[in-house]
Symmetry: C2
Subunit: 490 residues, 2 copies
C-alpha cells in the first residue's frame, strides 16, 4: 500500500505557514478536552531512518504542555524486557487517560527489523502480526485513540541525509549501522514494510503516511492528522464496540453447582501427601529456573474459600528468590487510568520465575461487572480480551494455571462466623464480605459464565473443592505440578 | 567485629522447637500491628555464600501473609540500573508503609564484591560506605525499621556446602564462581566484611550476626530478632529524631526580597538571544548524550511565575528522545506510602538524558511544611536529607540546576486575573492558587530558609527574575548551558 501511495501536494510556503499556525493552535486547544474526557492518545511514529520522526516529534510537542504528554523512545529491549512476553515492553508504556504518549518508533520497527535480519522466521512474524493487531484493537476498544504514522522518504533522499549526519561529529552517533543497511536494501525493506502496513491497517487503528520531504511540511501533516483524529475520538468516548466471536478452542468445565464438595482428607494422609508434593514442586522450581520457563498461577474464589492458606502451601515449597505473590485489591488511581490489563501486564514474572496472583484480571467479569464499575460492553468484551491476553502468555511459553476455589454457602457462613468470633482473624472479615455474600447467586451466575467462556485449551479453569481445605491444597499442588511437568515434557 | 563475635549457644532440640513455635506465632501476630501503625520493615540478609540466607528466608516468610511482604533478590544490576546513581537500585525497592521487604543480599554484597574484585578503589569504596550510612539513616529517620542480618559460617562449613550443591544437577547452578572464589579467599573476604560491618554498624541500623550452622537454628535466631525489633519499632512510630548539623559547604544566595525584578527585554533582542541559546543547548544535548552525562533541572516558584513557559523554551531546543519533563503533583497513594524522596529517585534520568522537574522534592519544606502534611521534625530534617540526596546526584556525575522562578505579588495578581478572564487559560487557575496567595508571606519565609539551607556548592539555587518572562527564559537557558559546559570541561 505504501508503494501505491500518492503523495499529497505540498502547499505554498505561505499557505503552509498559515495552516501550521492554525493546526498548532487547534492541537493546543484540544489538550483540555482530552483531559476532561479522559481520552488516552497513543501516537506511534514509524518510518525510514532519517525520515525526520525525531525532529518532527520535537516540533509537534511544542504545542503541548508537558503535563499532558510523554515521549517514549524504544531503544534496544532491556534485559528485563527480553525476559517478558513480546508485547510487554509496549503494554507497559501505554498512556494514561487524559494524556498523550508519543512513540518514536514502535513495535513495527522492532518486528520488521528482526524479520529483515532473519532473526525471526515467517511463522513467528505472522504470529507477531496477529498479536499486534489484537493489541491495537484492544486499546481502541478500551477507549484509546491510536494514531499510526509512517514517515516516508525516497532511497536517494535517505542516502543524502545519512551522509550529512555522518559528517558531523555531534550527529554521527545518530547514524546506526541499521540505517545504512536499510538504505542499501531499500527495496527489500519496502516490500516488508508494505506487507506489514497492509496487514496491520485496521479500521480501529489505520495507518497514515507522512511525506518526510521537509520538516515543516511533515509537521503540518502530522498536526492536522492529530487534530482531526482527536476531534473524532472526543465525540466518541464511552461508545460500545462489537463483541467478537470466540475463536479459541474451549474446554468443557462443570458448573459450580455440579462440583462435588464432600471429599475428606485425614490429617495423616494429608501431611504425607503435602510433603511429597511440596518436595516435587521444589525440584520442579529449580528446573523451570534453569530452563527459563515462566509460571503464572491465578487464584479466584469465594471469600473465605481458603485462597490464602492454599497459596501458602504452594509458596512453602518455593525458593523465595524465584517467586512473587501479587495480592490484587482495587486498582490505584494510576492503574485505573489505564487499560484494565495494564496492572497485570506490568506484574508478569520474568522467565524462570513464578508469579502467583491472589485474585486476578477476572475481576473485570465478576466484581466490576456486578458492582457496575465498568460498562456492560466492557465486561462482555472482556472474555475475549482475556483469552487473547492468556494466549500471549501461552505463546510466550508460560505455564498458566487458573484456580477457582469453591465452597458452598453454608461453609462460607461458618467461616465468616468463626472469623467474626476470633480476635486474630477479625481483620479478615469486613462488611463488604457480608454484602458480597448477599449477592451469592448473582456471583455464581457470573462465575459460571466466566468459566465457560474462558476455559480455553491453553488456559483452562480448574475448580478446587475447598469445603475441606486440606483436599483443595493437595488438588492445587497436584495441578501446578502436572502443568509444569506437561510443559517441561513438551 | 565479626571476628570477635561469640556465637550464641544453640539450645537443645526440644527448646529450639518450642521457642520457634512461639517466635513464629509472635511474628505472625505482629503483622496486623505493622499494618495498622503503617510501619515499613526492611530486612536485609547478607552473609557468606551457602550460609543459608535463601532457605531461612523461605522459612521465615511462611509465618507471614503474602499481602504483607515482598522478597527482593538483587542479582546483577540491570542495564537500567547501571545507568543510574549507585543507590538507585536499592532505593526503588524500599517497602511501603505497613509492609515488609526482605532483601536476599543487599548493597553490602554489591559493594564488598566490587571492592574485593578490585573493580572499585579505596576512595570509591569509602564514598559508598558514606552513601550507605546516609541511606540507612534516612530510612530510619523517616520511620523505617531496618534490620540487618549477616549469616556466618566457617570456611570449612562453606566448602562442604558448596561441594554438596555442586554435585546435584538441580542445585549446581546455585554455585557461582564468586562463591568458590570467596571460599578460597575466606580470610581476605573476612577482613573486608569485618571492616564493612564495623563501619556501617550504626545505632539506627545495627548489624546482627546469625549463626548459620543449621537451618532451624538460624530461623529461630532471625525470627526472634525480628520480633524483638518490630516490638520496639511499633512503640516508637512517629518519634522525632535529632537534626544533623549541616556539613556541606554552602553558597550565599540573596533573599527573595533582594532580587531585582525590573529587567526588561525587547522582543527583537529576546528572539535573537533565545535562538542562539537554543542552538547552543541543542548542540550540548548531543554532547552530553555521547558522553553519558545526566542532567537534572528542577523548577520551583510562585504560582503563575511562568515555570511552564520557561520549561518550554528549554525543551524546544531538545531532542524528544533525550529528555523527559516530570510534572510533580501531590503524591499518589503508593508514593505517599514510601520515603518522600522515593518518587524522585525512581524518576531520575538515565545517564546521557535530561530530566526536568516541574516542582520538585522541595515540596517537603514548602507546601508540606506549611499545610501540615508532615511533622515539624520531618521538614526540619529534610534540608539535610535533600542536601544528601543532591550530593548523591553530584557524585554520580550529574549536572544539577535548581531554579526558583521569582515574581512580585502584584505581578501574580495581574496574571491570576488574566487567567480568570481568559477562557483558554482558566484551567490554569484554581481556588487553591488564591488560597496559597493569601499565605504569601509564610511561603516567602519558608523559601528564604530553604534557599539559604540548600544552596550547596554542588547544587546552588538560581533565582530567575520572571516579572519579565522573556528575561527569565534567557536567564534559565544561560544557566543550564553554563552548568553543562562547566561539567563537560571538568
Amino acid at each position: 500500500m505504501l508503494k501505491e501511495w500518492v503523495k499529497p501536494q505540498k502547499p505554498s510556503n505561505e499557505e503552509l505557514t498559515e495552516r501550521l499556525q492554525a493546526a498548532r493552535a487547534a492541537l493546543s486547544a484540544q489538550q483540555m478536552a482530552i483531559k476532561e474526557k479522559q481520552l488516552p492518545v497513543l501516537v506511534i511514529m514509524d518510518g525510514w531512518g532519517a525520515a525526520g520522526k525525531g525532529s518532527v516529534l520535537g516540533r509537534v510537542i511544542r504545542s503541548l504542555d508537558p503535563r499532558f504528554f510523554k515521549t517514549e523512545t524504544l531503544g534496544k529491549p532491556t534485559e528485563d524486557e527480553v525476559r517478558r512476553p513480546f508485547l510487554y515492553r509496549y503494554f507497559r508504556r501505554i498512556p494514561e487517560a487524559g494524556k498523550y504518549s508519543f512513540f518514536d518508533g514502535s513495535w513495527m520497527d522492532d518486528v520488521t527489523r528482526l524479520y529483515l535480519a532473519g532473526k525471526i522466521k515467517e511463522s513467528e512474524f505472522k504470529r507477531q502480526l496477529t498479536s499486534i493487531k489484537r493489541f491495537e484493537r484492544q486499546l481502541s476498544d478500551n477507549g484509546y485513540l491510536v494514531v499510526k504514522l509512517f514517515f516516508h522518504i525516497s532511497q536517494n533522499e535517505q542516502r543524502k541525509r545519512l551522509m550529512t549526519l555522518s559528517e558531523e561529529k555531534n550527529t554521527s552517533w545518530r547514524v546506526e549501522k541499521w540505517d545504512l543497511w536499510q538504505n542499501k536494501h531499500y527495496e527489500e525493506c519496502l516490500n516488508v514494510y508494505d506487507r506489514y502496513l497492509d496487514e496491520t491497517n485496521q479500521f480501529v487503528a489505520p495507518w497514515y503516511f507522512i511525506d518526510g520531504k521537509s520538516k515543516k511540511w511533515a509537521e503540518l501533516q502530522v498536526t492536522e492528522l492529530l487534530v482531526k483524529n482527536i476531534d473524532i475520538a472526543l465525540k466518541n468516548t464511552a461508545h460500545s464496540v462489537p463483541l467478537l466471536q470466540n475463536t479459541f478452542p474451549l474446554k468443557s468445565v462443570p458448573k459450580l453447582s455440579e462440583v462435588p464438595l464432600d471429599q475428606m482428607l485425614d490429617e495423616e494422609t494429608y501431611d504425607k501427601k503435602l510433603h511429597k508434593l511440596q518436595d516435587r514442586l521444589a525440584a520442579l522450581h529449580n528446573e523451570i529456573y534453569r530452563k527459563k520457563v515462566p509460571v503464572i498461577v491465578g487464584y479466584e474464589g469465594w471469600d473465605a474459600a481458603g485462597k490464602g492458606g492454599n497459596i501458602k502451601r504452594l509458596t512453602a515449597a518455593l525458593d523465595p528468590r524465584g517467586f512473587e505473590v501479587h495480592p490484587i485489591a482495587s486498582p490505584e488511581p494510576h492503574e485505573k487510568a489505564r487499560h484494565y490489563l495494564w496492572r497485570f501486564w506490568t506484574r508478569l514474572p520474568k522467565d524462570g520465575h513464578i508469579a502467583i496472583f491472589d485474585r486476578t484480571w477476572y475481576g473485570r467479569v465478576m466484581v466490576e461487572r456486578l458492582e457496575g464499575f465498568c460498562s456492560e460492553n466492557d465486561w462482555q468484551r472482556a472474555y475475549h480480551e482475556i483469552n487473547e491476553f492468556e494466549k500471549e502468555l501461552y505463546d510466550w511459553g508460560a505455564v498458566l494455571v487458573k484456580f477457582w476455589v469453591q465452597i458452598d454457602k453454608e461453609t462460607q457462613l461458618a467461616r465468616f462466623t468463626d472469623r467474626q468470633n476470633t480476635p486474630e482473624k477479625q481483620w479478615k472479615i469486613t462488611d463488604e464480605d457480608w454484602r458480597n455474600r448477599e449477592k451469592w447467586d448473582l456471583y455464581e451466575n457470573a462465575v459460571d459464565e466466566m468459566i465457560a467462556k474462558t476455559s480455553t485449551e491453553f488456559a483452562p479453569w480448574q475448580i478446587l473443592s475447598s469445603n475441606e481445605k486440606k483436599f483443595a491444597r493437595v488438588q492445587a499442588l497436584e495441578a501446578v505440578i502436572r502443568a509444569i511437568e506437561k510443559r517441561l515434557d513438551s
